[in-house]
Symmetry: C2
Subunit: 204 residues, 2 copies
């Protein structure tokens, strides 16, 4: 049923991975619209023909880039039966400043950046970025709910908004100092919410 | 000393204004990198030659676009001798949701968007956007200081970060609901800061 020679399949899988790696690098650092298919094929070391075999259009590649990012980027667990060691720290950890390479500009959140570069809200990339951003807030709300916080949705949305502020302002100022500013606000919100939370024994 | 005929000067001033209006519209709605000089000259109804007479490069036009925006966009006064009617409302008013045309996508903050589209922190557009973002926080801090708030810089930076969160998240979700979320956080911060502020009579 499969008449492709194993070595050819291996080579093709390698091409796809190289294309995605090149897209991730170039879309992140120089932007989606500043990156052409020509440059992508050069950096990925594949022909234009091979590039279009794997991704029929740039839109398809942009979507695959965001999908691959999502697999690595959602920092909080949504599994409802996972033990929460310290919900407070889990919620606040999204504001831990990343170790920074000061030789490259800060590029914030690639999902936010994609929504700026692809303005049409109906476009697959914009839709995917929006869904990711909602899922991010939902996962924070899950942690808050498991910690007994009553209005967990509001807290999740507030923390997600702060996170987006860090990413956007950090990109503009090319600074990671915005994380500490957001964390100080988040501590106020989380501590107030935890103070009003139901004690662990009374949770269903 | 001025050998340009008045009608020609008038026409040229008209061209420059049309170019800037076209740039503001296109850069805002479809993005800086998605907009070429060809389309700009078409929409502004000027020849490419006239376009390049007024702006020697696209970079120069992008900078002029941001400069023109700044003149209209800084929402808070930095004049130290201006009477403050209600500092609380003045600080919170940046989170008032704009009246929205639901037929066009939300595009958040054009300065943030420029910093995403022009990644190089040394580029004139990125530098201008960063300076604008710092000035925005500084003006909020000025209001806070005049209201007797001791750590006015921190509050200014916090509110500016929330504002950027509204803009970035609102763009991704294509929603203006993020304003109310940010305002609820800002109220907590502003009220706590005002509660610890020096009374008006003791201010220098």
């Amino acid at each position: 049923m499969n008449d492709i020679h194993p070595s050819r399949r291996r080579r093709e899988r390698g091409s796809r991975e190289r294309i995605l790696a090149a897209a991730t690098d170039l879309f992140t650092t120089q932007g989606i619209n500043a990156t052409g298919m020509e440059q992508l094929s050069t950096v990925a070391e594949v022909s234009k023909r091979t590039l279009y075999t794997h991704f029929r259009s740039k839109d398809e590649l942009v979507l695959a880039y965001l999908q691959a990012l999502q697999r690595d980027a959602l920092p909080v667990s949504g599994a409802p039966d996972e033990p929460l060691l310290d919900p407070r720290e889990q919620l606040l950890s999204i504001f831990d400043a990343m170790p920074r390479d000061t030789t490259v500009p800060i590029r914030g959140c690639q999902f936010l950046n994609a929504s700026v570069e692809v303005p049409d809200p109906e476009h697959s990339a914009h839709q995917f970025a929006a869904a990711y951003k909602r899922e991010f807030a939902r996962r924070l709300a899950n942690i808050a709910r498991q910690a007994g916080i009553s209005d967990a949705e509001t807290l999740g949305e507030q923390l997600a908004l702060l996170y987006d502020g860090v990413a956007a302002r950090g990109t503009a100022l090319n600074s990671s100092d915005t994380s500490a500013c957001a964390r100080s606000i988040a501590e106020v919100l989380v501590d107030a919410a935890l103070a009003g939370a139901r004690p662990e024994s009374s949770r269903t």
